[in-house]
């Protein structure tokens, strides 16, 4: 796919941003991406907006048009994308396809969410499914997975806690992260139990925020930058919904990452840095295995060895991940791609992974029948 270059990025701080509306957040992220790219809004051929919850929380729809109106964009195609936690990365994927199809040259993608104001508390994944009605909150399926992984592979509560400790350490190096505080394993274990075995600090927070990216047809990037970041794989998939459900890992992780590595012409050992969907600590450990960073069952050991901390073999969630950087649902998928872009550009300061050439962003969204509803995997290259 070396026909796609990222030429601009911008994002707001993540956290509780009471004084800013959904539209304010979206506008700020878009403008900073436009400035970063050195383009004018006039150059934008189409604009995609990823948002997960505004229709549910605010009764708002077609918010992409409202955000892009603020930038002065008019007449161009505007596409609103809802795909749970992968709303932003699905919007990015679709934007890439529109360039590959030869339809557009320069596309703007924004992911945006505002969750604090509406007081959502703990999310359920929607009322159309029976599981939420039966008390299957989002953490429940992850708790069931954690227990299955512990039973089968001996993963421990301490190892789960260490994911939060690592990601908070990384978040403390990221000025845009929701949480800047360092945690200890004990603090994570001692925080209130939500759903066995996940304590509160094993769960990511809700948040407000926005993130935006400008993608440009490959042979045109030279007009704007001498160092674009290339999109070398872009994969979107949906659930397999196998019965019986497999709880110890996601089959989709294995299948879709294989496809992404094939598209990029690389393997998991070539990846220098990754952002992966750590909505709950157990998920990060399971994704190490599914993405091929270690063998099945060895995720806990990889983490414990320091292999996924900055300075390790394959640093994961250098931004702080969902656990510390925060998780404004619609913005997350785009923000992950921004972190990888910054790492490859060498713009990460204290959390910079030295010499990073190839990075991966992985996102998952929604639950149904013991599987995820959506997965995206992107690989970016310098």
């Amino acid at each position: 796919l070396e026909n796609l270059g990222i030429i601009g990025i911008g994002m707001t701080k993540f956290g509780k941003l009471s004084n800013e509306s959904l539209i304010d957040l979206g506008r700020k992220a878009c403008l900073s991406a436009i400035h970063d790219a050195g383009i004018s809004p006039l150059h934008v051929d189409a604009a995609y907006c990823g948002n997960g919850l505004a229709s549910q929380l605010f009764g708002a729809s077609t918010i992409g048009q409202s955000i892009f109106w603020e930038l002065g964009l008019k007449g161009i195609p505007v596409i609103n994308v809802e795909n749970a936690c992968t709303s932003g990365s699905t919007a990015f994927h679709e934007a890439c396809l529109s360039i590959l199809a030869g339809v557009h040259d320069i596309v703007l993608v924004v992911g945006v969410e505002k969750m604090y104001e509406a007081q959502v508390g703990m999310l359920s994944s929607g009322t159309a499914e029976i599981e939420p009605g039966l008390g299957f909150l989002v953490p429940v399926t992850f708790a069931l997975r954690a227990k299955a992984h512990m039973d089968k592979y001996g993963t421990t509560p301490e190892q789960l806690a260490m994911v939060a400790v690592k990601n908070h350490y990384h978040g403390s190096l990221n000025p845009l992260a929701q949480y800047q505080n360092i945690l200890t394993v004990d603090e994570v274990l001692q925080s209130p139990m939500i759903v066995d075995p996940l304590t509160r600090l094993n769960c990511c927070p809700i948040g407000d925020g926005a993130a935006a990216i400008i993608i440009c047809r490959g042979n045109m990037t030279a007009r704007f930058t001498s160092s674009p970041i290339w999109v070398v794989a872009s994969i979107l998939g949906s659930g397999l919904y196998d019965n019986p459900p497999i709880l110890e890992h996601w089959v989709l992780d294995y299948e879709k990452s294989k496809k992404a590595y094939e598209q990029a012409g690389c393997g998991p050992d070539d990846i220098d840095v990754a952002e992966i969907h750590d909505a709950f600590t157990i998920a990060e450990i399971m994704h190490y295995e599914g993405l091929g960073f270690c063998a099945e069952g060895e995720g806990g050991f990889l983490l414990e060895s320091g292999g996924t901390t900055i300075g390790g073999r394959i640093p994961v969630n250098t931004s702080g991940g969902l656990l510390a950087k925060g998780h404004p649902v619609g913005a997350t998928g785009v923000a992950q791609l921004i972190e990888i872009t910054m790492q490859l550009r060498g713009q990460c300061g204290k959390r910079q992974v030295k010499g990073a050439q190839l990075g991966l962003a992985h996102c998952m969204g929604g639950d149904k029948h013991g599987d995820t509803k959506s997965i995206t995997i992107h690989i970016l290259a310098k």
Binding site: G135, F136, A143, K147, M193, V195, Y241, P244, H369, G370
Partner: protein
């Protein structure tokens, strides 16, 4: 006067003569589904037969929710996946037992209709659960 209780997801349960969950069966693939679905995801046959599922199962995985429950759910409560013995089908369910500490993977369970909570009008809400057999 006591008002009639309300059943959560009434479309999932056939109450008489004994409560049983309503699933569907593909006559070609011989596979069962729950909740009911119209199209078989294996062979894409349309118009699957409705069938009543066995009330006997085994706990495949479970957890206990201790905080931040959805509205109307009394804490703590147990949920998980139950494998239906006859069909080999794994389904989501609330779980119940005389003591939640008797829940374990592999435990034999049976379908029951139990009280969940009262709604805002004071009416009882009932729901299907699987209860650990003592």
């Amino acid at each position: 006067m006591m008002k009639e209780p309300i059943m959560l997801f009434p479309q999932l349960v056939n109450m008489k003569p004994i409560p049983r969950l309503i699933g569907s069966k593909c006559p070609v693939c011989n596979l069962f589904y729950f909740p009911f679905r119209v199209v078989c995801p294996q062979c894409f046959l349309e118009g699957l037969d409705e069938c009543l599922l066995t009330i006997h199962g085994r706990i495949k995985g479970f957890t206990i929710v201790r905080a931040k429950q959805p509205k109307g759910f009394p804490l703590p409560y147990a949920v998980g996946y139950v494998e239906l013995i006859k069909e080999g089908l794994v389904i989501p369910s609330l779980l119940t037992a005389d003591s939640l500490s008797s829940l374990c993977v592999g435990a034999h369970v049976e379908l029951v209709i139990e009280f969940l909570s009262d709604n805002e009008e004071g009416r009882n809400i009932l729901v299907y659960k699987f209860r650990v057999k003592e």
